[in-house]
Symmetry: C2
Subunit: 326 residues, 2 copies
């Protein structure tokens, strides 16, 4: 953010006055307001969106519905979304849904009632029938009909993981992830493409020893003991790709419990970027999503809602994140 103090100094007013002008709130003398607004323009201090919001009737609040902000990647995404939308004059209301559709509905109703201007929806719930498609709703990692969405290039992430494990000499592969393709639920999420990209690339390269582990959709905090139960009957696996970094860490712990060494006996690749793992002595190999770029795409779509611009779905590139576990 540019420096509000400098604006205040140039205008010869206090920092509070500048804030009141930006928020269009509280008493500011007309001459003072005009002076501050001019200096703001000259310094190119605030984006046009803020300038516009000064005269609009919007609340400038966006609700971000997500399952749980303590999930490492979701937490990072929340941070960057808030930073990005703030630049455009929006405040972010957070809703940790804990995957309860009832709680999600309350925020969607706030949208209907103009108490928030837009909703960012990150959900695994079977909520499509409740969505009013005429309202400014944006989805992350999930496709609904007639709702714009942003997702990482999950399919390419699966390919990158497969390539790395093949290159590392693996022969017996495993994917561990939640049931995001909807075999057991009516919900299909973009996340299933991590699995799809991985398995299809391996098949293309004539690797067919692939164990595909699925657990219930949305179980974000799966731990070592649960993963141990999933993998203990597959002692020959030598390359594992998981749907998230958290599951990768649980898998590494489960492998240690099985007496396996990582990466010597089994190579493990996570998904998200390994950034938040201040682990002791080992960096997690991972496929990196960019919360900054995703937040930027989300910001573009949110501002497009009100600028009546054409809205395009956005697929954000992923990158291979080198580490010590594969």
């Amino acid at each position: 953010m540019p420096n509000m103090k400098e604006i205040a100094k140039q205008a010869g007013v206090g920092i509070g006055t500048v804030s009141r002008v930006i928020n269009n709130s509280g008493y500011v003398k007309k001459e003072t307001r005009e002076k501050v607004e001019k200096i703001i323009r000259v310094n190119n201090y605030v984006p046009n969106e803020i300038a516009r919001s000064m005269t609009s009737q919007k609340n400038n609040i966006v609700a971000f519905i997500l399952p749980n902000s303590t999930h490492l990647f979701f937490g990072e995404l929340l941070y960057h979304v808030e930073e990005e939308l703030f630049k455009s004059g929006y405040k972010v209301m957070i809703c940790n849904s804990s995957q309860k559709i009832e709680k999600e509905m309350i925020y969607l109703d706030m949208l209907k009632n103009n108490r928030v201007d837009a909703v960012i929806l990150l959900t695994n719930n079977d909520i499509e029938k409740y969505l009013d498609k005429t309202l400014p709703i944006l989805s992350f990692d999930r496709r609904f009909t007639d709702i714009p969405f942003v997702a990482s290039d999950n399919y390419q992430g699966g390919i990158l993981a497969a390539q790395k494990l093949i290159k590392a000499g693996c022969k017996n592969f495993m994917f561990i992830g939640d049931d995001a393709q909807g075999d057991n639920t009516p919900v299909y999420t973009e996340v299933t493409k991590r699995r799809k990209g991985f398995i299809e690339y391996l098949n293309k390269k004539n690797f067919t020893n692939i164990v595909n582990i699925e657990y219930p959709l949305g179980d974000y905090f799966i731990g070592c003991d649960e993963v141990y139960e999933m993998i203990k009957d597959y002692p020959n696996i030598d390359g594992i790709f998981t749907v998230s970094d958290a599951v990768a860490v649980a898998a590494i712990q489960a492998l240690q419990k099985m007496g396996k060494r990582v990466p010597e006996d089994v190579k493990v690749i996570g998904f998200d970027g390994g950034r938040s793992f201040l682990n002791l002595g080992m960096r997690l190999t991972s496929i990196s999503q960019s919360p900054e770029l995703i937040a930027k795409a989300i910001g573009e779509i949110i501002t497009s809602f009100y600028a009546k611009k054409t809205i395009q779905n956005q697929i954000i590139p992923v990158t291979f994140c080198d580490g010590d576990t594969a």
Copy 2:
């Protein structure tokens, strides 16, 4: 959260209708509204605060200003604060200040202008002179005159760490933390009591070999290289207590760089609770703050603002969290 579906079923209406009744928004037939409200009361479905808010003119929005929600403990606290306040009918607006006073001011102005009903302030900035003490502001880990606050029992945390290191046989101690006592800034935060409790207890037990490392206030994401520079000239240290888990992990990495083994050569204790560290092979020994209890205390104070109850500051107990590093 209780089950909205059941309320809808009992009332013979859709889930959306129940939501509209709770939010007092959108069209609901008078008879239907009364029926739903009755079932809500009979089932004791929503707390009284929500019921009250149905007829109030409040926005039911609380702004939570914090330095950075990707900081592991702050992220956990945000999650629990949102969950706790939701029970009382409040939505949470998040402000990642990145410690910029200009950004904090914008949210404080929203409070002045009744766009939010209360502010939770978690800040290291010299912001006291800008605070309107007549407004519902609550501070975490920081004391301002005439502003209610919640803090962990940081002093007791320092004592617990000292006791553990003494018991483990340490003789040469070190504390690493930011300058939260205001020697180099005008800001004094409650966090300094971690240092104070630690050093005063050691002195009381006649340990005087204590190195006290201070770095600039609010440097939350200090890494291995920075900690290495701080500690490399103290090869005899055998017991380290740090201001946070993140710094403890950086210290362990720095010690490894110095060729020291943890915990054999040097014992390390962090602060926050070691919960979020999905580290590979080592559990961090730590002093645990309870984000749940802190959020509960914050919720009580926020609801007291509008219930015109007496407001009391709250100090939340900490506990020793056993691990592998001390």
